[in-house]
Structure formats: C-alpha cells, structure tokens
Symmetry: C2
Subunit: 200 residues, 2 copies
Amino acid sequence: MYQLYEMADSGNCYKVRLLLHQLDIPYQRKPTDILQGASRTEDFLALNPNGKVPLLILPDGRPLAESNAILCYLAEGSPLMPEDPYECALALQWLFFEQYSHEPFIATNRFWIHLEKAQQAHAEQIAANHPRGIAALNVMENHLRGQIFFVADRYSIADIALYAYTHVAHEGGYDLEPFPAVSAWLTRVAAQTAHITIDA
Amino acid sequence: MYQLYEMADSGNCYKVRLLLHQLDIPYQRKPTDILQGASRTEDFLALNPNGKVPLLILPDGRPLAESNAILCYLAEGSPLMPEDPYECALALQWLFFEQYSHEPFIATNRFWIHLEKAQQAHAEQIAANHPRGIAALNVMENHLRGQIFFVADRYSIADIALYAYTHVAHEGGYDLEPFPAVSAWLTRVAAQTAHITIDA
C-alpha cells in the first residue's frame, strides 16, 4: 500500500490526498508535523534529503518527493492527466507556474499568518509577497475568463495543484472578491466527483 | 519551425537551447530582453500572460511556457526523458526541486549581481537567499555522491535543468569548491555529445 508522509494543513499534501481519493487509491497517512521538525529528523532525511512533505512511499518502498511530481506519477494513464502531448505539457506548464509563481507567495503568507501565527514577525516579507500573489491570481483570472478548467476544458491535475492553495488564499490575506472567474472555478473544482476538503 | 523567445544570459532559456541542440531540432531564436521590458509588452503577454521567457512557439503556432515544461515536451520519446514511469517521476521531482528550492535563490542572486549589476540595492535579499542556495547545493552534493547523473545514472533533462544555473552559480556569489561531487557532475554534463555553452 502507498504511504504518504504529510501534514494535514499543508496544501501541497492536500493535493496528493485529493488525487488519491479521486483515483480511489488506498493509502496510509503518516502524519508529519513540520512545525515540530518532523521533516528534519535523520530518518526522514534518509527518505527525502530535501526535508519536505509530502513524500510518497510506493508499495515497493521507493520514495517520491515534490507534490506536483507525485500528482503526475499517480495520475498517469487516468482521466486526470491529459493524454495529448501538448495538453500534457500545458498541465505541466501550470504545475510549474503553481510552484514558482503562486505557492511561494500565496502559500508562504498563509503559512506565516494561519499556521505559524507569526504575522508580526514576518510583516515585511508578507507585504513583499502580497503583490506577487496578486499577480499570480491575475494570470489565473485572465486564463479562466475563457476556460472552465485550466487545460482543455477538462478537470485535471493542473486544477488540483492550483486549487490547493487558492481555495485557502484568504487565510494568507488574499481577498478573492476581485477574481470572479477564479471564484467560479473554485466552485466547479469543489463540485467534482469524490472531492474531499483540506481538513478531511 | 519552432520559435524560441529567449534571453541569451538566462539559464532557464539556456536549458531549452541546450536540449534543442542535443536533440538536433532546428529552431529560430527570438531575442527578448527582459531587462528592457520586452516580456511585458502587449504582444508578448498575449502569448504568455505570465510575462516570462523562455516561451516556445510550436510549428503550428501554439505557445508553451515554463522552461521545465518545455524540456518535458521536447524530450518526450527521446533518450533524454526516462521511459520507466518511476524514473520519469524522479526526473520531474528534480525539475520541481530546481524551480522551487534552487532557482529562486541561485538564479535570483546571479540575476541581481551578474545581470542587473545591482548587488548593493539587493544586498539584504542576496544575503537571505544565500543559505537557501547552499542548502540546495548540499542536497545535490549528497545525491551525486552516489550517482553519476540525477536519475538512473543516465544523462537526462533533470541534469540539463539543474546544470543551467549551477554551472554559473559563482556569478551569484556561490563558491562550488565545497561541492566536489557537484563539480565533477558539471564536468560530466559539459562533456556530453552536442553540448553547447550558455553564450553559444
């Protein structure tokens, strides 16, 4: 059986749990409290030298890190990974957008404000990140004005990856009111078959 | 023919040019000086709303952004993309590592120091990034102590992606002397058939 080292509140971990649930793949949760240093122990670093969750352990014991690489691995051959080579590349394009242009600003501010409760200590970084998070939301809003999902008008891992931190962006100080296309897309994603919430 | 919007000094653009050359795929270079705002014009934003290079235009006119998504698209079916599903996922793992844990610290410091010549103006951010770049180099060093390339002991797009900014890390203030396994791997990558340099 798959084992997933993960932290309940993490959007990156939620992505993987949501996909596993929608693909009906059984797995065992291995709660890993990164706030208490559980991803920095010798045992954990032996599995993932980069010291991050989520970390997926395959049934044969081999480890795989990086949330979006895990999504690609699990979704391969399923309807949640586009089959056409260009559409598959577009899904990857949005996964890299998520990790480079979205997560570092939206998830990081949520981490400081909502999880660490350390808004004051990180006030300057939060303020510097905010416009970059808004820029990412603007890119999403423009794209979703003409599309119901991110790639080929079908729900895919690109939607799962971007949903994870966008739907809790308010916990990082982002108001989604000025982003109606993003808000409507969030509703569509949450209405998909076998959807689970981040606290499930 | 493929068209590549790119800037000569950018490691993200170099990745794509190196792969195109090694796959012997003809393409046309479209020089795009991001320092002069060329990736923020209306025409460019119509092709890539995220306003970044590299941007690949397929022979049929469809655009593809994000350097590592472009690598995956072009390498698919070639010896530079692992065929085995787990090894392919490991290549993606390293591509996401590169964009999340490596590029924002190593490439960004190089951008400020080497390209913008704005070391003083960004002194605080450069200093904050430095230990995070060192952490990424340590992850690479530990991995390369037991491997000749990043995935399955064969040269792949994972090596191309990580080579791009690692081999010019000194231009961002990173000394590679303490990383002998990384340094030896850089030499192996540069010795591959049809290698080109970043200024080629």
